[in-house]
């Protein structure tokens, strides 16, 4: 697989490590009253879809940026690659 890095262009997927579903960006509020249940969902439960999946990849052997890759789990086709930083900021996370 080739991952089209927004800054570096197409890179071999072997340069990356895989974390999982991009919803991991949305860490629950630890002070919320239902935090315990929310963290069980966050830490252990996954949608695991067959089809399009947004997921976090880390460019470990490259520029060490985190990416949100939209990839089809049935075909391994990649339709979109974003910097995870931009995705997190767009959701109001981070600065």
């Amino acid at each position: 697989m080739l991952i089209n890095h927004p800054l570096l262009g197409p890179r071999d997927a072997a340069e990356f490590t895989y974390l999982g579903d991009a919803s991991l960006i949305d860490r629950p509020d630890w002070q919320a009253p239902d935090a315990a249940q929310a963290f069980v969902e966050y830490g252990y439960m996954r949608d695991n879809p067959a089809g399009w999946h947004r997921e976090l990849w880390f460019h470990e052997a490259g520029d060490r940026s985190w990416l949100v890759v939209t990839r089809n789990t049935l075909t391994h086709e990649i339709s979109n690659v974003e910097l995870a930083r931009d995705v997190a900021r767009a959701r109001g996370r981070s600065k």
Binding site: M1, Y18, N48, L74
Partner: protein, 416 residues
């Protein structure tokens, strides 16, 4: 029809006209007491033990494609019970004991071959870990044998024990481990279940569950609605897809694992050997091919095919320990889809929906578990209580902090 040597001779002398199909091809009835979704090894074993050991009648196995076409037809055929943790080892040892009596039990030649499995170690720390594992196995009634370098040299003279990078310091052997003809396991269980009256319905995909007031009343399929007292899922690899029809999210990701077979060779490798300094394991099939594998690819996939970097990684592991095998050409390689659970261990449990049960999350260790998985699942279905050997495989273990994390990797499925 009972299979025997006498029967083979009789049929040979009478033109092979007396053989009958190994199982029927029935149309689904309007309703069953128990419907098992998934005609793979685990589903068929569940049906077999439900009918034979737990006296249930009126059972159906529903399979989307053909039976044995999923992971039971795609694995590397190894059986063993060399686990460490209390939640796992009694279960896998129970499974190995069932393997030992399986062929007589279901009257089918599954070619169970206890040729032994040897886990090599290459450092002092690894030796300590393997001694601990061996002791845990012995405490649970399994066999474990710590082999010295000399014993390994005597047994496998072709292994280079003095390699500069990865010297072989010894190995943990389980002599009762080995290999089984994987397809024959599915066929044997299917035939056995069929003889006990189980309806095996192929080419029938489950498209939804009928759930009313928190109770599962049956399944919607491509052959129409089929009612059921209990619905038991056993579709490891596609568990999340199936259970999403019941509105459930599962503690697992689906990953692709590749396996490889070389061209046929004369006997070169007795037993199963695993390389301790990388992830590589190999055995030689009765046809002569070297059957080997290694790591999963490491990203969510339902594609049943992997990518080349893992092929390279697995073959590098093989070359490091068996340089001679580099001369053998690769004949076939393929991928299968694993339920990679959050702690690397399976789930055999009821769900929050009454009458809907779940079996899955086998990671890449499901084949060896087939008999015990079927037996324990049948116990849960018939008696409404977990079998003592499978009582740790609960859904709520993540919430309660009772993970069974054999490798200590945490909630990162691609590292188990």
């Amino acid at each position: 029809m009972r299979y025997s040597g006498f029967r083979v001779i009789k049929e040979a002398l009478t033109g092979h006209k007396g053989w009958t199909p190994a199982w029927r091809e029935p149309e689904p009835k309007p309703a069953y007491d128990v419907i098992i979704i998934g005609g793979g090894g685990h589903g068929l074993a569940t049906a077999y033990y439900l009918a034979k050991e737990f006296g249930q009648k009126n059972i159906a196995v529903i399979e989307k494609g053909w039976i044995g076409g999923g992971n039971v037809g795609r694995n590397t055929t190894i059986i063993r019970s060399n686990y460490l943790l209390d939640g796992n080892e009694p279960f896998y040892e129970f499974s190995l004991k069932l393997w030992e009596g399986l062929e007589q039990d279901f009257n089918y030649n599954a070619m169970v071959s206890q040729r032994g499995i040897l886990n090599l170690f290459h450092s002092d720390a690894q030796r300590d870990a393997f001694i601990r594992r061996g002791n845990a196995m012995i405490l649970n009634g399994a066999d474990a044998d710590l082999l010295s370098t000399e014993q390994i040299k005597a047994r496998y003279p072709f292994l280079n024990t003095d390699d500069a990078r990865f010297p072989i310091k010894g190995g943990l052997a389980q002599h009762r481990g080995g290999t089984v003809r994987h397809d024959a396991v599915a066929w044997g269980y299917a035939r056995g279940a069929d003889q006990h009256g189980v309806d095996i319905i192929q080419n029938c995909e489950v498209t939804g569950f009928k759930i009313e007031n928190g109770k599962c009343l049956g399944v919607e399929t491509t052959k129409g609605f089929i009612g059921a007292g209990k619905v038991a899922c056993a579709v490891a690899g596609s568990s999340s897809r199936l259970m999403s029809h019941a509105g459930m999210r599962l503690p697992m990701e689906s990953h692709v694992l590749q396996a490889f077979v070389s061209e046929g060779l004369k006997p070169v490798l007795p037993g199963v050997i695993t390389f301790g300094a990388g992830h590589f394991y190999v055995s030689q099939s009765d046809k002569g091919g070297l059957v080997f594998g290694g790591d999963i690819d490491g990203y969510n996939s339902y594609a049943q095919r992997g990518n080349l970097p893992v092929v390279e990684d697995v073959c590098e592991g093989g070359m490091a320990i068996f340089p001679a095998f580099g001369r053998a050409r690769l004949l076939r390689m393929w991928g299968g889809i694993m339920d990679m659970s959050m702690d690397g261990s399976p789930i055999i449990d009821k769900t929050h929906i009454d009458g809907l049960l779940f079996n899955g999350g086998w990671c890449y260790g499901g084949f060896k578990a087939t008999p015990a998985s079927g037996f324990c699942y049948a116990h849960l279905i018939a008696r409404d209580a977990p079998h003592p050997h499978a009582s740790a495989y609960r859904f709520d273990r993540f919430e309660k902090g009772l993970m069974i994390d054999e490798k200590g990797m945490g909630n990162q499925p691609n590292l188990h």
